[in-house]
């Protein structure tokens, strides 16, 4: 793991690591850095589809929730409106679309991120606590095919970090 003082250094380092062929790595920052995820090789996320599906479920579910009781289950003459009075069903359908989309966004993001994750080897490095304050870290995992303890340490040192540490798992 290499520690950097600025976001730009980490971004540069990640790009060079990616060019060097490392794939199993991660970058840590105290705030989102634009372009960093792409620099370590992450381009797409499934979150938008998940949110869309959540919204769709809410929309169809909400409409059906109102449609079934009012058309089939127990139709009631309310103000002379027809049984399938769809304009009157819109507010609840809209609210449930938003609710299900928001639930999908939140829990989808948390689940896709693998959270809650009570343990991660990165926390074994004491200075890693600064990742949530003002330092930036690049971690290369041992499972990467290009990994070799000495070569990787040498490579990281070339990237001009403030410090390089070894992470015990």
């Amino acid at each position: 793991m290499a520690e950097f003082i600025s976001a730009e250094e980490l971004l540069e380092a990640s790009k060079r690591a990616s060019e060097a062929g490392y794939k199993r790595m991660d970058a840590y920052s105290p705030f989102p850095v634009e372009g960093l995820a792409e620099a370590i090789g992450v381009y797409k996320t499934r979150l938008p589809i998940i949110v869309f599906c959540g919204g769709l479920f809410g929309c169809c579910g909400g409409f059906f929730l109102q449609w079934w009781p009012n058309v089939i289950g127990y139709p009631l003459n309310i103000g002379g409106k027809p049984w399938d009075s769809w304009p009157a069903f819109i507010p609840i359908t809209f609210e449930l679309t938003i609710l299900c989309a928001a639930l999908a966004a939140t829990f989808g993001m948390i689940a896709l991120n693998g959270l809650p994750s009570p343990y991660h080897p990165a926390f074994n490095v004491e200075r890693f606590a600064l990742a949530s304050k003002d330092r930036f870290f690049l971690l290369i995992e041992a499972e990467d095919p290009h990994f070799g303890l000495e070569q990787t340490r040498q490579f990281l040192n070339e990237l001009n970090p403030r410090e390089v540490s070894e992470v015990e798992s």
């Binding site: 003082i5 600025s6 976001a7 250094e9 970058a27 840590y28 920052s29 105290p30 705030f31 989102p32 850095v33 960093l36 995820a37 620099a39 370590i40 992450v42 996320t45 979150l47 938008p48 949110v51 919204g55 929730l65 009781p69 009012n70 289950g73 127990y74 309310i78 409106k81 009157a88 069903f89 507010p91 609840i92 809209f94 609210e95 449930l96 938003i98 609710l99 989309a101 928001a102 966004a105 939140t106 989808g108 993001m109 896709l112 991120n113 959270l115 809650p116 994750s117 009570p118 991660h120 990165a122 004491e126 200075r127 890693f128 606590a129 600064l130 949530s132 304050k133 003002d134 403030r162």
Partner: protein
Amino acid sequence: MAVREPEGVGTVVAPGSDVLAPGHTYGSVTDKISAIVLTRGTGNKYKVGFATAVALFIGLNLGITVLMAYGVGVWGINIPVGWGYAITNFVWWIGIGHAGTLISAFLLLMRQRWRTSINRFAEAMTLFAVACAGMFPLLHMGRPWLFYWLLPYPDTMGVWPQFRSPLVWDVFAVSTYATVSLLFWYVGLIPDLATVRDRANKRFKQILYGIFALGWRGSARHWKRYEMAGLLLAGIATPLVVSVHTVVSFDFTIAILPGWHSTIFPPYFVAGAIYSGFAMVIALAVPLRKYYGLEDFLSIRHLDNMGKIMLATGLIVAYSYVMETFMAFYGGNKFDVYMIMNRMTGPYATVYWVLIAVNLVIPQLLWSSRIRRNPLYLFLLSFSVQTGMWLERYMIIVTSLHRDFVPSSWGMFAPTRWDWIVFLGTIGFFFTLFYLFIRFLPMISIFEMRDLVHQTTEEARP
């Protein structure tokens, strides 16, 4: 276990901008905000304020107990005025909540940088305001133990809620609003909880914050999904702001009462909600700024912008008042005309004219940038606006109900002490929650402030 680190070579130091004082680094921003949570403790002013809030909250509990024991007759409601303080307070609190969501969601989509230092406590304000609001639909029921009949559960009687009613739409809208606000607020807190976890000076604090931080470590892969989730939630929450208060306004418009049955209500209510909401944000921001020394983060520019939004929405509300009056005479419907004349000259005329003064006239002072940039004046104006918005809801509800179509049904409404106790009690509840919030959670979004430091530095580069 805090790792101490002196400022190293190459540390990013932000130059000043209109939303951030110069000289801040990622570290100083983090330290300043997390110190409030971890090391500062509570002073005497806090304790006095908190004790007052808790005392009012205890009053609320008493009021609710009496209400549950004796029924809604302990309030001043009667026939014809079946809705009094409860619905006034409900609409007032929900309205206040809307500004927080607007700041968090809408201003995020509009890329307004000045939202960064205010969005956390504004969203907390929304959450607590919705909690206060949500009590009233339950309390105002004649048979509150049957509240669950409003929910669509499969029951043995084979009946369902009346889905075509705005009162049921309210159930879904307010529940959705409460849930989405909570989710949005919590999602925003996750990285900050990780920050506080890593700075915690005692083990139990580390564990507690750690549990809620879900093991967040600032990984770029996580940030990517996180930012996407934030934008999607913001995109979802923005129409929610408009729709929830629109549905609340439908509670009135669906009736045929003069003064209620008006198509101007949805935009009128939404603008009024943002008006009173920003007033509450200002009422919270000014003391927080002063007592916690946050002038670096909550600059005069922030206050100025909030003042401008208050002015703009206040003008929309003023337009609505004028239009309602104009339309009543233009339409020539004698019931509408009488309703307006009754508001202006009838038994509740004092309420009407105080309302015009406090909601329409006094806030015109916001045109002056000297006033907008002065924290004290802005704070006082926020009280004026909040009182005005409460009076507005009171006036809409009571004046239309107490004299409608047939004079033999006319009556009067006067609040009882239990109306006041419950109302002031919810204010106590709100502040109790808010005091707890500022004590235990970072009241400004730390990671977004760091991002602001980064952006400000980037822009200053030649």
